[in-house]
Structures are given as structure tokens and as C-alpha cells.
Symmetry: C2
């Protein structure tokens, strides 16, 4: 191993800052706010947070942790279990951390992913003391080259008093040039973002900060955690088929071209599988303007369907990662990674006319969507970017399998137990049963469409019965309030939403 | 009266199109979609819709009616009662129409006010057949000069096959030059909107359409319906005081200048009264970037507090209207009226950093807000622009009196019965009791802040009891689902949310 990492740390004096993770972690003191790289398991700091967790096991060391989105490895687990994390923004997906959030031990504010740095910039959140950023390299002028995600890293590095860099040797130097770092001006001096197509570059390739702010550099060699998406199955294939039929009709009606409009897909198995379904579709020259680029993005490149993909991170399965990074030059000029403020910015999403595809934990008969809270109370991951996209999209689609827990849970319920996206922001609900096109419909019509198109028996009849009872009460959005959550209560009591006679 | 209205209809051949309201209404046929001017009672078509209602009383004549927002006079009442309106977008506030909406006779899809023309432009809604637009004048080239609102009028006139103009002689010709008509390009060719301050003009002064599309012109002389806002009272004064104290501290902390950032205020008594409270505040050189400009805007001009106000309509009380239009040149260069697509555009609201002040029908302990549905089912008016602003604002404030119905209803409840704005979009809740600053707080902390700051006894203790029971169940957002709507159910049963022992 070269002793001075001249190719990775090109500003010579910074090489003196190379130190161990444990020594770097000493910059962090009790009560600090730490901004860390990492978005959907990609490009997260891997060594210093573990050293920090180690210290927190024996010291009084409590931090507020802000990231781009979810972290990989066991970083959130270690920081939560050690007691280091007391407050967490804006997204997570770790089971140990989740348990402490739901028990009330850790205060978690999940946020629209475009908004965290706005609130930091305007000092409406406590300032970031230390930024810990994974980098592929540091340039001759001290610019930080991110790795597989940009997330909030640029603003963290700009806002923080001190910056700790993890140079990850397992991340290829070819990543340089992939990123587009754009930082908007403070309000009221802010100008329009000059981005009018997914492939537009509006910033610079590195995070530019005064290099003297870099107080420690740690060398690591651990790859990103692979994504845990599962393979498409019959149901996700059926969802994809319904959507492709829908888009074929939109093209036929002259509302869309065969290149559609830029696509966004939320993180996870369903969105990834649905995107993969576009491989066998008549659409071509497609583009993505999304947050996380998953396996399906590269499958669509390989199939010749996709021209360009803009995101804030690349999160791949182990197998796909090996394939993509073995031949990265094949993809690099079709990709850009942006700050999550830009990838998720309302201004851009509205301007481009993004087609947004996100996943519902549950939806209700009127088209309200719960993306986050199991049984209305227990946090799963967080709202993520789904609110940034669904409110501002050309078309906002929510996909879910119609059943969960082996049929004991219906994903379509009388009333969602938590609302992340209300009826105004939900144009399409699609399950493996079918697709409900809700555009221009009043709530009573939405209920008919969703129940008839998206729900299987016996829940279909149960919902029709609910609607019949609710309609007797009247209203724009009829409900029997005292029964609105009876399905959830029954699940809590009997482990099933089914009525006893239907089991 | 001059026979040819040369000053009002400056393209001579169009004067031949002057006709009666009844004859103009003959252009409308059963099944058509009609786009009408009108935003918060201002600048609405007044004669042709009444003639249309008259026809519908004896003919089979059913229309879809799209407007900017609510209409004045009895237009919505007449069209609803005559059976003409069968489908209505995107906002209304008429009691007769509301009754038919809530009984399910009229299908009503309330929409984010910035989105209606996006959906029309992309043909995701049925096309507008006829536009009926109130105008102050028609220019030499056939350009339409709107009156006291712009709303969706420009796009309606552009999209419609035929346009009917109502020239309203009671609207002063001085309105010419007040408007800024900007129409974005179709996606994916759309460009950034070049608006970086409330006073920027980015469009033209008239709605430019091929003049041959104007098939009928009706001369009217009926003033806009006056606003029905009520005078400030002790409670709205207390809300204003809490907000001014909050902003004084924001300035002290260096987060805002004494000019604050551009203000938006929702329609109605509370928002108007709170804005009037800024007259006795230390702030100065303020600006507004709002939808409707109410009495308080002009009171703030008169007090020397406000430099400029951008809106989509001017809706005033009878007294204020007489004062303002008697001396309009005093105000004109401090005002601009825009299309509601621009006044409410996410791109601009986010860029300018608007401070959004909207009214809650009810809010819950976690900061979710119901703006529309009484007891979760019955539509009041509609979401209006509150979603456009609250999602994208620098700071999103919701104000409500803590009690309604003489204390039998608490505006703060365990769980709102309908969610228009979720916790992610609500930064501040303020009642006459106090102000809860929710920025950066997790749901359990939000509950403490809201209950302690915003709620009076006995509801305060009742909410503390609910939280104690909910916390035993755990979760990020603790609830006792089967009791979450018990306050609403009790109100339905006993006409009061109070527990029997508290009455």
C-alpha cells in the first residue's frame, strides 16, 4: 500500500492529517451535532462512527446524528446501541435504531429529504459541529470527491466547523467526475436553479471547502453494504404490467411520448421490481430523475431502454455492484449524482414533470397513503423523499401488494392509520390486482375505483360494506369514525384484519 | 352610457360581439366543461353564469365547473341549486353548493390551487370547452385585462375553444397594468421561472389569445361581493401577539431581518386579523407573496409597514374597497396580481423563502392539520393554496382559536379526523393560549409542546391523559387507535367534546 496515498490525497499537506479512526473520533465531544455522509446505504462513513460508538460504550457521549438518509453496515445499530445517538435526522432503516425510536429512547424527526439542509442553512436546526464524509479522493485544492452518494455531504462539510474525511480505497477513483455539487444561495438572494433536463450539470465535481477545515483523514477499505432488495415475483410483475398498460394508454391518448417523462422510483424491492418491468415495455429513450439508483437502473441501461439517470446515490446488490463497477466507464457518462437538495427539489421535480413511483405501507379507500407508521404508531423507516416527489410530480403513483402477513393484513383499509400523502398528492394506486386512476375524481369516486380495481376478496366486500355504512352518514369523504380503525384494532387483538367469520 | 364602449373594447370588430347574458349563455351545451374567472369572490363572472343557471332550471344542462377559487354573489348557489353544476374544481365556499357536495349530489375534487392548470395543460383533466372571464377591458390586439383577480383565467382562455367576456363597468380601468400574466411552457421544454422577488414582473399585462376566440361580450355593472371577514377580537389579537413575539426572537437570534421574509396569509378572519396585528410590530419594509390580498394588506400599506404585495386577487370588505379604489393610484405600484399557478408555485415559494400563515380547522397533538373536513367527513371549503405554501415555505404556521362552538369543541384533538397537512409541513401551531415551535422536534416532543403551549383546561388535562395512555402502547407517534376519534364521536353523540364529568 502506498504510504502517502498521493493519488487519493492530492493536496500534500493534508496527508499529515492521516490518522486512526479512534484518534479522528476524539474530535467529537458530548452534545455535538454530527453530519455524516450516507444515503440509502451508499457512501456512508464506515470507520469513525464505529470508533465513536466504541467510545460511547464507556464514556458519557451523546450526539445528534444527521445524515443524508439511511446508513449501511451496522453504523446506526452501533451508534444506537452504544447510547451515542440521542437525536436522529432525517431518515433511517436500522432495526436496532428503530426499536429505540419506537420506545421513545431516541428522538427521531423524519423529514422531507430535500428540506434538512434548508433548515440547517437558515439555522432553524442546531448547527453541525463536525462533518464525517466518505471520499474517493481529495483534490489538489482540497475539494472532496464523494463516493457512491452525495446526500447532504456537501452542505454538512460547508456548515461544519471541522471535517473528518474517510478515504475509502475500495471505492474506485473512476467515481471522480460523477458528481454535480450545487449549493443554492441564502434567501432572499436565491436564484432559479438552471436545471432543465436530467442530464444537465449545474455545479462542480467536488465539495469545495477551505482545506484547513479537514482536521483528520482516515483510510478505509470496506465496500458499501449491498442493497437487500429481493427479486421480482409474480405480484411485482403484475404491478409492473398494470403500470405499463396504463402508460401505453397514456401514449395512445397523446398525453405522453414513448420516452415518457423523467422517472423517479423510491427505494426498495417493489419500486425496483416495477422499474425492472420496463425492460419488457415499448418505451425507450427513457430518463430517470430520482434519489437512489438501484439495480433496475443498470438493467434498463443494459437493455437499451434508459438514456440517462440522475440520482443522489447508487445502491446495488452485491452481484450488480460487481458487474457495474467492473465496467464503470460503460455507464459513467449516463449518470450524475447530485446533492439530495437538488435531486429532490420541488422546483426541479415540477419543472421536469417527473413521474413519481413510491411505495405505500397502506393506502385507504380515498387514496390517502401511509408510508411510515405500522398500525399508525410504530415508525418503519421514514417519509424519505416520497413527499418531495409526490406533491410536485407530473403524476404520482403509489404501489403496494394488496395483502401482507399472508393475507391477514389488507394494504387497502377504510382509513389509513397515519397520513404521509393525502388524496391531493396521489394520482394512481396500483396493486397486483389492478390499477386505479384517480385523476380528477371526487373522494366517493376514488373509493369506488380503488375498491373495484385494487382489492381482492374478502377485503373487497368488507370495504364495500364499510362504504355503504359510511355513505349513510354523508359527507364529501364519508366515514364511520368509530369504525375507521377497526381493522387495525382487530389486527392488534386477533393478529388478523379479517372478520372472524371470514377466517 | 356610451353605446360602443370604445374605452373598454378597443379592438373595434369585437364590439359587434356585445350581446345579452342569456344569448351568451347559449354557447354552453349540456356536458361541457366551463372555466370561469373568480378567486376568493374577486373578479368572478357575474351575469352569464346566472343566465346559465336560469336555463338549467328548465333544460337538461349539466356542466363541469372549474374556477380559480371561490366565487362571490350567489353564482355557485344558483348553479348548484339549478342542477347545472355536476362536477366542481378546485375550491368553493358556498353553503348551497357545499350541501350538495356533502350529500354526494355534486362531485367535488378540491385541489392544490397551483395544480389545476398543470393538469389541464397536460390533458390529465377533461378539456375546457368555454371560458367565461370578467375583464376590465379588451386591448387593441384583443388582449383581456382581468379585474380584481387573475386566478386560472389566463389558462382557461388559452385552452378553451370559445371565450365569453364580461366587461364589468364597475371595475375601474385603472386596474390595467396591475396584472402579470406568465404562462410556463409545456414539459419537458419548461424553463426556470425568472422571478426572484415579490415585485418582479415576468409576464405581460393582458391575457393574449386569438381575438376571434371571443364569441360573446356581455356588459355588466355589478361590483365584486365584499369579503365577509370579521373584525379582530381578543383572541385573534392574542394570536398575533404570540406570533410577533416569536418573530422578534427570530430577529434577535439573527435568523431573520426586521423585514422578515415574504409573507403569505390564507383567506379568512383569523389570517386577516393576525396580519393586521403586524401594524403594531417592530417589523418594517415587509413584503407579501400571497394568494388573496385582504383588508390587512392595505392597512399595512397605510401604516407604512409593507413595501410590496404580490397576490392572485384582491378581496376587500365593502368599506375598505371603497377606500382603496377611491385612491387606487396610491397603491397600484406596490401591487401585482399573478396567475394562481405563479402566486402559488412551489418553485417560487421555496426560492423566496415565504413565511406561510394558514388557518387550521383542527390540529392534533403531533401537529397534523385538518383544514377542510368537519368531523372528518363534511367538506367546509377546500385545501386551497395551503398545501402549495406549507410544503414549500421557509416557515409554515397554522393558527386557530383553541376552542370552537362555545367551548364544546377543542381545536386541538388527539388525532385529526382528516389530514390536509402532516407533521412534516407544520412548523408552528399558534392559538390565543400560546405558540408551539415544533422545528426539529420528534413527535413525542411535539405533543408536549402543543399541549403545554396551545391548549386551555379542561382539554389540556384530557390530552395529557390521552398521551399517558398512548405512551404505554409505544411508538414514534403513540396513539390509542380505538380512542383516537373518541372526542369527535362524543361530539356527534352529546354535542360536546367534553367528558360528561367536565361539563
Amino acid at each position: 500500500m502506498p504510504a502517502n496515498y498521493a493519488d487519493r490525497i492530492r493536496l500534500p499537506y493534508l496527508r499529515q492529517r492521516i490518522t486512526s479512526a479512534a484518534d479522528a473520533a476524539k474530535w467529537i465531544h458530548d452534545g455535538m451535532t454530527i453530519g455524516m455522509s450516507g444515503f440509502t446505504r451508499a457512501g456512508d462513513a464506515k470507520a469513525v462512527p464505529m470508533a465513536l460508538a466504541e467510545r460511547a460504550r464507556s464514556e458519557n457521549l451523546h450526539i445528534t446524528l444527521i445524515t443524508g438518509a439511511s446508513l449501511g453496515g451496522d453504523v446506526d445499530k452501533a451508534l444506537a446501541e452504544s447510547g451515542a445517538t440521542t437525536r436522529r435526522f432525517p431518515f433511517q432503516s436500522d432495526p436496532s435504531l428503530r426499536a429505540k425510536i419506537n420506545s421513545g429512547e431516541i428522538m427521531y424527526a423524519d423529514q422531507h429529504l430535500s428540506e434538512t439542509v434548508e433548515q440547517l442553512r437558515s439555522r432553524q436546526m442546531a448547527p453541525v459541529d463536525i462533518a464525517i464524509i466518505e471520499a474517493a479522493a481529495i483534490t489538489e485544492t482540497g475539494g472532496i470527491i464523494p463516493t457512491t452518494s452525495v446526500g447532504n455531504s456537501a452542505s454538512f462539510a460547508i456548515f461544519a466547523k471541522h471535517v473528518i474525511i474517510e478515504i475509502n480505497l475500495s471505492q474506485p477513483l473512476e467515481l471522480e467526475g460523477l458528481h454535480d455539487i450545487f449549493i443554492p444561495k441564502m434567501r432572499p438572494q436565491r436564484e432559479p436553479m438552471p436545471l432543465t433536463a436530467p442530464q444537465d450539470r449545474i455545479g462542480v465535481a467536488a465539495i469545495e471547502i477551505p482545506p484547513e477545515k479537514i482536521v483528520a483523514i482516515v483510510i478505509t477499505n470496506t465496500p458499501d453494504s449491498p442493497s437487500n432488495v429481493q427479486a421480482p415475483d409474480h405480484e411485482t410483475a403484475a404491478i409492473a404490467k398494470h403500470l405499463i398498460n396504463f402508460f401505453e394508454n397514456e401514449v395512445k391518448q397523446g398525453r405522453l411520448e414513448e420516452s415518457l417523462l423523467p422517472l423517479q422510483a423510491g427505494i426498495g424491492t417493489i419500486a425496483n421490481a416495477v422499474m425492472a418491468g420496463f425492460i419488457d415495455s415499448p418505451f425507450h429513450n427513457m430518463t430517470m430523475y430520482s434519489e437512489v439508483l438501484q439495480d433496475s437502473t443498470f438493467d434498463l441501461f443494459d437493455a437499451g431502454k434508459l438514456d440517462f439517470a440522475s440520482g443522489s446515490s447508487i445502491t446495488l446488490s452485491q452481484q450488480k455492484s460487481a458487474q457495474v463497477f467492473a465496467d464503470f466507464s460503460r455507464y459513467k457518462d449516463k449518470l450524475v449524482l447530485r446533492t439530495q437538495e437538488v435531486s429532490n427539489h420541488p422546483e426541479i421535480i415540477r419543472r421536469l414533470g417527473v413521474i413519481a413511483l413510491n411505495t405505500a405501507l397502506e393506502a385507504d379507500i380515498y387514496g390517502n397513503v401511509n408510508s411510515t407508521h405500522v398500525l399508525g404508531t410504530h415508525m418503519m423507516n421514514g417519509i424519505g423523499g416520497s413527499g418531495d416527489f409526490s406533491r410536485n410530480a407530473y403524476l404520482s403513483i403509489f404501489a403496494t401488494k394488496s395483502l401482507a402477513k399472508g393475507g391477514r393484513v389488507s394494504s387497502i383499509v377504510p382509513m389509513v392509520s397515519h397520513v404521509d400523502h393525502n388524496e391531493h398528492d396521489v394520482d394512481i394506486i396500483v396493486t397486483e390486482i389492478g390499477l386505479a386512476d384517480l385523476r380528477g375524481l371526487a373522494p366517493r369516486e376514488r373509493a369506488k375505483a380503488i375498491i373495484n380495481k385494487c382489492v381482492a376478496e374478502p377485503y373487497k366486500q368488507m370495504l364495500l360494506d364499510y362504504v355503504a355504512a359510511a355513505n349513510l352518514r354523508g359527507g364529501q369523504t364519508p366515514h364511520v369514525l368509530e369504525c375507521a380503525f377497526s381493522w387495525h384494532s382487530r389486527y392488534l387483538d386477533t393478529d388478523s384484519m379479517l372478520l372472524p367469520e371470514k377466517i
